[in-house]
Structure formats: structure tokens, C-alpha cells
């Protein structure tokens, strides 16, 4: 506990961590608390996006909100600029820097650096900087904008701005935290001089027998379900791109005693889009069950009760915390290779069905349902537990000490 004052800045609150990015940031903050004298987290965020936040978090003002409403697909960059341009955010950040005087600033995802870099320069603050990367953002934006059909000129500008930001920050950061070896290599190519891989991990969540019983009653009463497939994902575009590509919305290949439980923002995405007067949509819901956004305990119970967990992630970024959860739950897992990025070493565990071919992926779902579950050896179990945050962030804790 001798590493000074740490300030972590992000673009979302982490009081109620729901999506992968929030969970990762929360875990990093917790890890820093183990090695730093003092740690503060501050989010520069839009109140319309997040209901729960801490008193120290900084909500952006009306002008920024207007920009966000006009171009929600550019939210990351708008929020990054807002750190400097939004008067409310600017003032509070300055006050915080002056009063807290952090020795190290960790910026989670590069965007806040857009504004913070200018503020630090103006005020001649020179703390050590850590770039917390979650993806190669400009590459991901290319895919997302293409999928959304974003205006090409606007998309090109935003992608270029993001790329420059990532390159600059990679060079200027004292430490870069990458989520995978591939991302680490990409950042080193951009000029990062000191990098560490902190793959995504999880914190095991306990659940009560009552929660488990609730799910079992629900499945038996409503669907007479014998076997359960679970897909957990936010409404983040790569989640539904991947689902549509690898699984698709024609679910007739799923046996009739089985249901696919959609959990998280993806659930609302599909209830909001597959509600047309089309035969495909009616049939989709004969096999799929929307579960909304259960709390962590409910989700843990549902995963514990699942027969198969699917990870149809094909591109984009987003965290692969879902992969870690699936591994830790010791379930049969049907996944793409991409879902195992930074978990490549775990692919030798039993009960995994990995394919990047959509037809094979679907066949794997049926195969996994029918296959027996193979018990892990102690060594395999130890390997599986490497997905715990505690293990994933061990090297980062050491590196922070070296700064």
C-alpha cells in the first residue's frame, strides 16, 4: 500500500456495474485499492444513460446532452470532448485535480483523454498516466458504423479521430493495460512503451437456493423446459451482430424440450426488434425466452442451472466477461474462437465446442445439449479459476508499483 493517490476516470458510473465495461472498471478500481494509498473513481457521464451513480460522479450538462441525442452513435467521442468542452464537467475535473492531486491517473478507455490531456497541459499537472484499453476502438467503430449504416463522411471523421487518440495515448501513457495479447500487440505497434495484459475476469456471485428454485419453477411452469441454453449479452451491437451471424433468428434447430434464454440488454433488443407480423418472428419466440436484466444473484442462479451457454461473438469489442463467467460456471460452452480472445489457453478445457462456422456453431449447440458433461481434473479446475479478477489483475497490481 505505498503507491500514492490514484484517480481513475471513465465515462460511466460503476456503483451498479451492469455491463462488461463497468464490471472491468470496477474490478480495476478494487485492484488499485489493494496497492494504492488512496483511490478515487470519477465518471463523466450522461444521466439519461445511467440511473445509479456516486455523489462524486460528474453528469454532463444540457449542451452535451443535446449533442449526444443528435448523434448517439458518437457518444464515446462526445463524452471525451465533454471533459474539456462541457463547462460543468470541466470545472469539476479541475477542482478534483487541484484538491486531490493524484500521483497516477488511470483513464479507462481512451476517450476522456481527449479533454483531460488539455486540462493537464493547461494546469501543468504531470501525473503518471495509465491507458486502460478495452478494445482497439477505431477498428471496432469501423465495424459498428458499417453495421448501423452511419453516414460515411461522419463515420470517417470519428474513426480518424479515435485512431489518432489511441495512437497518441498509447505513446504518451506510462502504462498501457490491454485486454488481450492481440490488443497489446496492436497498442505496442501504435507506440506503447510499457504494456500489461489484464484479461477480463469475474468475481463469483453467490446465489440462494430460492433463486435457483425460482428459475426452475418458471421454466417448468411456463415452458415445461427440460434443457436450457443461455445467452447473456448487453444490447451492444457486436452482441446481436454475432448472434444473428452465428445463430440467426430461425431457431427451429433447437429441440422442442429446450429453450434459449436471452439475458441482459440483448433480451430487450430482440423483444424490441423481433415483434413484427412475420412468421419468422412468431417462430423465434417459440424457442427463445426474454429474461430482461436480472440482478447478479438471479443471473448467477440462471447460469448455474443452464445446460449450455453460448458465446456467439464474432467481432467488435466489448468485454468477454461472459466467456469468463461461462468457464467459471463449468458449463458446456458453445463459442466462437473470437469469444476466447485472451482466453486462448482455456480452449483445452473440456465441454467446449468452438467453431467460427455458423452452420457448425448451430450443430454444436445441438451436440452440446446431447453430450454428457465431462468433469474437470484438479489441474483443469485451477486453469479455469485463472478467470477470477484476482488472478487476472495480479500483474497489473505489480506494474502499478513500478510506476
Amino acid at each position: 500500500m505505498t503507491h500514492g493517490r490514484m484517480l481513475v476516470i471513465g465515462t460511466y458510473p460503476i456503483t451498479e456495474a451492469q455491463h462488461g465495461g463497468q464490471k472491468r472498471t470496477r474490478a480495476i478500481v478494487d485492484a488499485y485499492r489493494q496497492v494504492c494509498n488512496e483511490v478515487k473513481y470519477v465518471a463523466v457521464f450522461h444521466k439519461g444513460y445511467y440511473e445509479d451513480y456516486a455523489s462524486g460522479d460528474i453528469a454532463v450538462g444540457a449542451e452535451t446532452i443535446q449533442k449526444l441525442n443528435q448523434n448517439p452513435q458518437f457518444a464515446d467521442v462526445i463524452m471525451g470532448d465533454a471533459v474539456y468542452d462541457d463547462p460543468q464537467a470541466h470545472q469539476k475535473i479541475v477542482e478534483l485535480l487541484d484538491s486531490y492531486r493524484p500521483d497516477i491517473i488511470h483513464i479507462e478507455q481512451p476517450y476522456p483523454y481527449l479533454g483531460l490531456k488539455k486540462i493537464l497541459a493547461e494546469r501543468d499537472h504531470k501525473p503518471k498516466l495509465i491507458f486502460g484499453s478495452q478494445n482497439i476502438e477505431f477498428e471496432m467503430k469501423k465495424q459498428i458504423f458499417a453495421g448501423l449504416g452511419t453516414d460515411k463522411d461522419l463515420a470517417r471523421d470519428i474513426i480518424a479521430k479515435t485512431k489518432k487518440l489511441e495512437e497518441d495515448f498509447s505513446k504518451e501513457a506510462d502504462l498501457l493495460v490491454a485486454v488481450s495479447k492481440n490488443d497489446e500487440a496492436a497498442h505496442i505497434k501504435m507506440g506503447a512503451k510499457n504494456a500489461v495484459v489484464a484479461q477480463n475476469g469475474i468475481t463469483p456471485v453467490a446465489y440462494s437456493p430460492a433463486k435457483l428454485q425460482w428459475w426452475q419453477n418458471f421454466m417448468d411452469r411456463e415452458y415445461k423446459v427440460k434443457r436450457k441454453i443461455v445467452f447473456v449479452g448487453s444490447a451492444h451491437p457486436p452482441n446481436w451482430f454475432g448472434f444473428n451471424k452465428m445463430v440467426g433468428t430461425a431457431l427451429g434447430f433447437i429441440p422442442s424440450d429446450t429453450r434459449l434464454f436471452l439475458v441482459g440488454g440483448i433480451s430487450e433488443y430482440f423483444t424490441g426488434t423481433l415483434n413484427r407480423r412475420e412468421a419468422e418472428d412468431f417462430c423465434f419466440w417459440q424457442r427463445a425466452v426474454p429474461c430482461g436484466k436480472p440482478d447478479d444473484e438471479s443471473l448467477a442462479a440462471l447460469l448455474a442451472d443452464a445446460d449450455v451457454i453460448i458465446l456467439p461473438i464474432t467481432d467488435g469489442g466489448g468485454s468477454n466477461l461472459k466467456t469468463a463467467e461461462a468457464i467459471l460456471n463449468d458449463k458446456k460452452v458453445v463459442a466462437t474462437k473470437f469469444a476466447f480472445r485472451s482466453f486462448e489457453h482455456l480452449q483445452k478445457l473440456p465441454n467446449l465446442y468452438i467453431s467460427d462456422d455458423p452452420e457448425e456453431f448451430k450443430a454444436n449447440i445441438v451436440k452440446a445439449l446431447d453430450a454428457p458433461h465431462h468433469k474437470r481434473t484438479p489441474a483443469q479446475q485451477e486453469l479455469a479459476e485463472s478467470v477470477l479478477w484476482q488472478n487476472c489483475l495480479a500483474e497489473l497490481r505489480e506494474k502499478v508499483g513500478e510506476l
Binding site: 427451429g252 422442442s256 417459440q286
Partner: protein
């Protein structure tokens, strides 16, 4: 000791059918009739309240429709309300209905609504009490489907939304074979021809049927193509799909009766089939109007069929168009003997449906040796290639010209009738049964 595998046949919709048999009921009845008597065959109905499958005798569907509810005087309006209700009441409560209707029926029609509410209340009351399963006054056994058995669903199971899900749940436990008849996928292919609710309900039903059957028997090659395309679209693993040709033998050719309407033998055009928008009666109306404009002679039109989907306006048009109203007869309640007379005595027949699963009236018309005009879509071209005069169901002029041709050119009509009589071989229901049963046996 192992039990002999049983073939179970569902009579649910037929057991509750209150009218003379039309298309689907004829198929169920005639197939079940040939299965009846086989030692390995049993029949069942679905109890919608208890969600049970109840063993029954084939005899329950042999009763004439008017005898179905005893002690009911059909002249009493209040009792016709009771009859309507009866059709909606589960089998096990229905036996209590006659006494109830008797008690209230004489109060007359003005009390019918009160009666209706009281009957409903009594039904609800009965439903709340544990009841033994009762069919036709006798305690009945639950149908115990076992894993070597075969369950045949021959009828319109979509009308009982709980039936197929209940059967699927049982099948997932007991792994018996399930074979179902596919009539058509028209509510999916042409949802515009039905009420809004049918499209989602029927689609879900068809998804369940196709994804949970060991075999499907389509009533035409067209329906087979449609169901296979649906399975492919929904990524349902391939299931064997056979076909059977429906029987078109006329059962009582000597037992005919002229309906009490103003038609002259040989002077009218007959159109048989539910009076629903898909059957495209509008095309005939337009053809008749076009003929009026051109001064062409057209025969009187007799439309036989119960009212169906979305034809309220069309019925009004037929009844109120000054040029047409005296040249069209709408007969919603024709029985089999009257229908036989109409077939025998019409000039020729027309069947302008937009889409069909089979087109039984086409086959029946040919079986009567009548010139048959029919649409050139879906299954209608496979019934008797070369013997039916086809037209596009969207081509008014082509339809009008064919009607006019066979109205005015008697020689052509007679020649065509001779060809039909010579070349058209009727298909017996026994042959249909053999085709169906052969498919089912091959699955074993």
C-alpha cells in the same frame, strides 16, 4: 411382458363438430373409419379443461350431428343458443347440458341471454369442482401413450391451441411417434385472407407441428412443397413428408334431394366451398359484371358454403347489386343430399380460389362428370391434369370467357364431360387410408 404398440387416433375436432362434414372433417372421418376395428388402434379426444387425453370409441363421431345433443328441440331459439354453447363446452360437462337446457329452454328466446349466462355460470362452477373424466355419459380412461405407440393427429388441431403443446410435452417424456396431416400453410402464406389473430396462432402451431413430428402427410404435392419450404426457412431439421390423395367418391349418389331454392337443372353454375375471401368469389362477381358490360350470357350462380373469413361485404354486394342479385344464390346450410343434387344438376362448376391445400370440390365435381373451371395455382393443377379448365385467379376476363364458353357452347361442354367421365378415375377413401397407413408403417 411387452405391450403391443398402439396406434392412437385423435378425434378431438370431429367429436365437437356440429355441422355436416366439410373438407377436413371428411378426411378425419374417412381415415378414422378405416382404422376403426383394427386391434392395434384406439381413439382419443383432448380434454381442453383438464389438459388430458381421453380414450373414446369411434362411435362418438358416428352420431349424426343433429343427434349429438339429446333432448334438444331445435325449434326453440333458446336451445339453439344452448347448442352454440354446447360446442364450446368440454366433453365431460356436456352431458349435463340437456337437462339444463330443458329447464330453461321453454322460457323462450327473450330469456336466452339469461340462460346463456346461467349456463356459463354452471359450467364455471362445474369447472371449479374436481370431476371424473366423462365421455358420452360414461367414465372414460385416460389415453396412455407409450413409447412404442404412434399418435395420429388427422384434423384441425390448430383450433384447440392447447392440444399440440400438451401432446408435445407428453412426447418429450414418452417418446411415442407423432404423425400429423398437413392440409395447407395458407394462413402463413396468405395471412391477408384471415382475421388478424390467425396468422400468429397458426404459425406457432405449424412450427410446433413440424418441429415435433416424426412424419407429416400432406394432402397435395403443393402442400408438401410448402411445408418443406417452411421447415427450411425456420431451420427445422428435415422430417419425412409423404402425400396422400384425398378420396372423392360420392357416398350416396341415389340419396339426393333438391334444395328448396329456385334453380333449374342444367341451368346454373355451381361454386362449392366456404364463402371466404380466399375462395375468391369476387372474381366470379367481376366476371359477371364484365359479361353484363359486353352483353354476354352468363348462367345463374349457386354458391354453396358456410360463411367464412372476410366476406361480409361481398355477401352484401351479391345480395344488393341490382344487376346480379337475382342471378346469385348463396346457400350457407346445404346438407350432403342437397349438395349431391346440386352437383348432379349443375351445368358445370367453378372453383376460383386464390390458393388451396387440395381443392376437394374440384375432385368431387370431376367425380360427378362435370366440366370444372378452376384456378391455376397451388394444388389445383395437380388434381386432374388435362381435365380441368384452368384460369388465373386474378384474371377476370379469362374467367368470364370460360364461363361464357361452357354456357353457350353446349357441344364443347358435352364433349368435355365425356372426356372427364372416360378419363377421371375417382379415388376411394380406402385408397387414401392405404396411402396414409403405408407412410405411417414405413416410419416404424
Amino acid at each position: 411382458m411387452s405391450r403391443t404398440p398402439i396406434t392412437w387416433i385423435d378425434l378431438s375436432d370431429l367429436s365437437e363438430w356440429r355441422h355436416h362434414h366439410t373438407g377436413i372433417q371428411r378426411v378425419v372421418y374417412n381415415l378414422a373409419k378405416y382404422y376403426n376395428g383394427r386391434p392395434d388402434v384406439k381413439f382419443f379426444v383432448f380434454d381442453d379443461v383438464g389438459k388430458n387425453f381421453v380414450e373414446v370409441e369411434f362411435a362418438i363421431v358416428e352420431r349424426r350431428p343433429d343427434d349429438a345433443i339429446t333432448d334438444v328441440d331445435t325449434n326453440q331459439p333458446a336451445q339453439s343458443v344452448g347448442r352454440r354453447l354446447a360446442a364450446a363446452i368440454p366433453l365431460r360437462y356436456r352431458r349435463k347440458l340437456p337437462a339444463f337446457v330443458k329447464r330453461y329452454g321453454k322460457a323462450g328466446y327473450r330469456r336466452a341471454r339469461i340462460v346463456l349466462h346461467k349456463v356459463k355460470a354452471q359450467v364455471n362452477d362445474l369447472r371449479s369442482q374436481p370431476q371424473p373424466v366423462v365421455v358420452a355419459g360414461k367414465a372414460a380412461n385416460l389415453a396412455e401413450f407409450q413409447n412404442q405407440d404412434t399418435v395420429l393427429v388427422l384434423g384441425s388441431a390448430w383450433a384447440k391451441p392447447s392440444l399440440i403443446p400438451a401432446l408435445i410435452n407428453l412426447r418429450n417424456d414418452r417418446h411415442f411417434k407423432l404423425v400429423q396431416v398437413i392440409y395447407d400453410l395458407i394462413p402463413i402464406l396468405g395471412p391477408q385472407f384471415f382475421g388478424d389473430a390467425l396468422y400468429p396462432e397458426f404459425t406457432r402451431y405449424m412450427f410446433d407441428v413440424v418441429s415435433n413430428s416424426d412424419g407429416l402427410v400432406a394432402i397435395s404435392k403443393s402442400s408438401k412443397r410448402d411445408v418443406e419450404a417452411f421447415a427450411k426457412q425456420m431451420r427445422i431439421p428435415a422430417v419425412p413428408v409423404g402425400t396422400m390423395r384425398l378420396g372423392d367418391e360420392f357416398t350416396h349418389p341415389e340419396d339426393v334431394q333438391k334444395p328448396a331454392v329456385d334453380v333449374e337443372p342444367g341451368k346454373f353454375l355451381l361454386c362449392v366451398g366456404t364463402f371466404e375471401v380466399r375462395k375468391n368469389h369476387m372474381l366470379i362477381y367481376m366476371a359477371m359484371k364484365e359479361a353484363k358490360l359486353r352483353g354476354l350470357k352468363m348462367p345463374k350462380l349457386v354458391i354453396v358454403g358456410r360463411p367464412g373469413w372476410l366476406t361480409g361485404d361481398l355477401g352484401s354486394i351479391f345480395r344488393n347489386d341490382p344487376e346480379i342479385k337475382n342471378e346469385v344464390l348463396l346457400l350457407p346450410n346445404t346438407n350432403d343430399t342437397e349438395l349431391a343434387w346440386l352437383y348432379q344438376n349443375c351445368a358445370f362448376t367453378i372453383f376460383p380460389a386464390v390458393y388451396e391445400g387440395w381443392g376437394l370440390p374440384i375432385a368431387e365435381s370431376l367425380a360427378y362428370g362435370k366440366v370444372t373451371l378452376a384456378s391455376n395455382t397451388s394444388s389445383m393443377t395437380e388434381i386432374a391434369p388435362g381435365l380441368v379448365d384452368h384460369f388465373s385467379p386474378f384474371d377476370t376476363v379469362a374467367c368470364m370467357e370460360l364461363i361464357h364458353k361452357y354456357t353457350t357452347d353446349v357441344k364443347a361442354r358435352v364433349a368435355r364431360e365425356k372426356q372427364i367421365t372416360k378419363d377421371y378415375g375417382t379415388h376411394t377413401w380406402q385408397s387414401t387410408y392405404k396411402e396414409f397407413d403405408s407412410f405411417v408403417r414405413k416410419l416404424k
